[in-house]
Amino acid sequence: MAKRPPITNRVRELREAHGNMSQAALAKAIGVTRQTVIAIEQGKYSPSLESAFRISRVFGVGLEDAFGWAPSEDG
């Protein structure tokens, strides 16, 4: 089983708070596929810094309001 990246996110929460924005609409806004948005929301994939900033800007929040760090046992 692959180790999940230690980055958490509130993308689904923010999307729902923004008029229930669809995953496809968010994907189009940040220039990725809907499957990538799904992978980000499920915590399977950590977006690049550029995409993280794009997501934050779409929702009008700071980077740390959308993404967080979940320290693992080894830090």
């Binding site: 692959a2 990246p5 220039g31 990725v32 596929t33 809907r34 499957q35 990538t36 799904i38 992978a39 499920q42 399977k44 994939y45 977006p47 690049s48 995409s51």
Partner: protein, 141 residues
Amino acid sequence: MSFREQSAWAMGLILTVAGLLYFGKVFAASQALGATAPPIIAFVVIYVVLVVIASIIVMSPLAAFQAEAANAPADERERIILNQARNWAGYVLAFGVATGLFHFWVQRDGNMLFHIAFASLMASQISEYAFQIFLYRRGHA
């Protein structure tokens, strides 16, 4: 399922079927000869033409129904997945070719070296699509 994953399924299946047909012919020719058949260019040409025609027949409707996805470049996650799959497939090719060379070193059968190298190339390409599917399903590379 994304367009790229559908493409990987389609191309993986086409290459598998074409590869089985090709090696079925080579195996039959070898049995008829009572020894490893030499490289038969006609079979290789038929294999390539079959793959090209099948790809056009299968991929055209796929792309037509999802024109936007088909025209879009791979995004950042897909690029990582494609690179990882290509990397792993390279190991498959290297292992196959090394095995073929070892076999040639022991048996001195140049015909078999060709078949093993060609099979490795096919296996590498098929495995690349299989790795892509695996990574798309997993969500990340």
